[in-house]
């Protein structure tokens, strides 16, 4: 019983981080219809901000999280203006963004690789190697902190989307872009801001993963499938769905890792992506895609 509880706790703690990693991707798809394959490399960009701030000034990654989010948000705005804005009205926009973001991911990987090499990095604040013991249960402090901060950020995002005027505009644009325009929403502006928020969330997630996982530029390939599985299971564009999917898959992956073997843990996400697309392509909270 303790074993099961232990695995469950580890799965839930990591689930929070996965949820934050996936929610930015989901928001950007929901509002902009951009399938952002560059999201994981942007997360790694955020991790590098935290890493260098830690290495140069000894700054705690939790303290530099807003800085990483801000730098990545600015990068997001630049990226949107340079790459995505021009064709935003194209009927084939979503399909085009797959190729565009793939190219951006390749370029960013190359740039980060040549700047920082492909050496594995990790920030190591004191709590990253600490653990909390409750009876026989062992909970890594770093994961608890990362999970708790992730959930706090997601809760803030949910409140913002639910109650603020701009949150209404984002939700409206996600559900019916044309109708949002007819309500007086400047959907282009909503798009840019949502993209900046989405990429900012990637920056924040990067700060957190910098002390939970080791990272290097090439690591983003692995993350693409992981994040896609969360977003697809949740229902493309549903932030709530992504959060639920993150916890579900993280817990399943933790059990697979504990009972079958750690190498199979990541496989859970890949397999889930494959099965969801076959069985329920609209995911948990999405709408069934039109096949015709």
């Amino acid at each position: 019983m303790t074993d099961i509880l232990q695995v469950l706790i580890l799965g839930i703690a990591l689930g929070g981080v996965y949820a934050l990693m996936g929610s930015g991707l989901s928001l950007v798809f929901g509002v902009m219809r951009i399938v952002n394959l560059a999201h994981p490399i942007l997360i790694i960009g955020g991790a590098y901000v935290a890493y260098w701030a830690f290495r140069l000034w000894g700054a705690d990654p939790l303290a530099t999280l807003p800085l990483a989010a801000l730098i990545l948000s600015a990068t997001g705005i630049l990226l949107y203006k340079l790459v995505f804005e021009k064709d935003a009205k194209s009927a084939k926009y979503s399909e085009m963004t797959v190729l565009l973001t793939f190219s951006v991911a390749m370029i960013a990987e190359g740039a980060l690789g040549s700047a920082f090499t492909n050496t594995q990095r990790v920030t190591s604040p004191d709590y990253a190697t600490d653990a909390i013991f409750i009876g026989d249960l062992f909970i890594p402090t770093g994961q608890v902190y990362a999970g708790a901060v992730s959930l706090a950020i997601i809760a803030a995002l949910a409140l913002f989307l639910k109650f603020s005027r701009f949150g209404y505009a984002i939700r409206a644009t996600t559900q019916n872009r044309e109708a949002a325009e007819l309500m007086g929403v400047n959907v282009n502006f909503v798009g840019v801001v949502s993209f900046a928020i989405g990429v900012g969330l990637a920056g924040a997630a990067g700060s957190l993963i910098s002390f939970v996982f080791s990272f290097f530029p090439g690591k983003h390939w692995e993350w693409i499938a992981v994040l896609m599985s969360l977003v697809v299971l949740g229902g493309m564009g549903s932030v709530l769905g992504t959060v639920v999917a993150a916890f579900a898959l993280s817990v399943i992956a933790a059990f697979v890792g504990a009972w079958i073997g750690s190498t199979w843990s990541t496989m859970t996400f890949f397999l889930a992506l494959f099965v969801i697309l076959l069985v329920r392509p609209q995911g948990l909270f999405g709408e069934r895609p039109e096949l015709a």
Binding site: A169, R171, Q175, N176, E181, L182, M183, V185
Partner: protein, 247 residues
């Protein structure tokens, strides 16, 4: 004579890079009246409304609202001037509640208390919306959705409401309810510009009418006159089997 509220002259418009649907469409919309545009399928009626509110690019001609040229403006900028538009597909937010949809109708309002007051007012005027305020718009019946879409325009107190086929897909009883909302809008001082496939009903409620065919305005005048015109009756109101050629 006072200047018209909305003046459309010789506009040409179409979808994307495709051919022009409107070739030489014009319309004069006077203040505080119900105007009904009729015409066969593909005449360009919906295209005209979409062009007015900036959803389609005007290739030629101009649209002037209260002396301001609308050509080249974004839909959100046009809406801000006091124009509301309910398209055929009703433009609701299916995963937002009825109350949230109504709030979106006043998106441009800065005073939150005033917005809530108007939402409350509309829900009082349309009790069915009040009863379903927490329900998602996507779960409402067709008639309720249309009521919500039309009632939502009242939140921002527009000067003109454009309705594209408000009776589409609705049962006859519900259709008359929709038209009583149209009448109520006009009585409240709102100008209504209506596109209606069900031409007779539309014209019966309207003060003025226009006939659009093959992208051109071929007649404009009092609605009663259109209803009585034998050629229009024969060609557009189902009064005969004549081969359809524009007048």
């Amino acid at each position: 004579m006072t200047a018209p509220l909305l003046e459309i002259s010789g506009i040409e418009a179409g979808y994307g890079n495709g051919p022009s649907i409107l070739e030489d469409a014009g319309l004069t919309v006077e203040n505080e009246k119900i105007h009904c545009i009729i015409g066969p399928n593909g005449a360009g009626k919906s295209t005209l409304l979409k062009s007015i509110c900036g959803m389609l690019k005007i290739r030629k001609g101009e649209v002037v609202f209260k002396g301001k040229r609308l050509n080249g403006m974004r839909p959100d900028q046009i809406i801000a001037l006091g124009i509301a538009f309910v398209p055929q597909e009703r433009a609701l937010f299916p995963k937002m509640t009825v109350r949230e949809n109504l709030r979106m109708g006043g998106y441009r309002m800065r005073d939150k208390n005033e917005l809530e007051r108007r939402v409350g007012e509309v829900m009082e005027r349309f009790p069915i919306l009040g009863e379903r305020e927490k329900q998602h718009a996507g779960n409402l019946s067709g008639g309720q959705q249309q009521t919500l879409a039309m009632a939502r325009t009242l939140i921002s107190k527009p000067e003109i409401v454009m309705l594209d086929e408000p009776s589409l897909g609705l049962a006859p009883k519900i259709v008359s309810e929709m038209f009583s909302i149209v009448k109520m809008m006009a009585e409240g001082g709102i100008t209504v510009l209506l596109v209606e496939q069900n031409a007779r009903i539309g014209l019966q409620y309207a003060d003025r009418g226009a006939v659009l065919d093959l992208g051109r305005t071929i007649f404009e005048g009092p609605a009663a006159e259109i209803l009585e015109d034998p050629r229009i009756k024969r060609l557009y109101l189902g009064g005969g089997k004549a081969e359809r050629k524009p007048l």
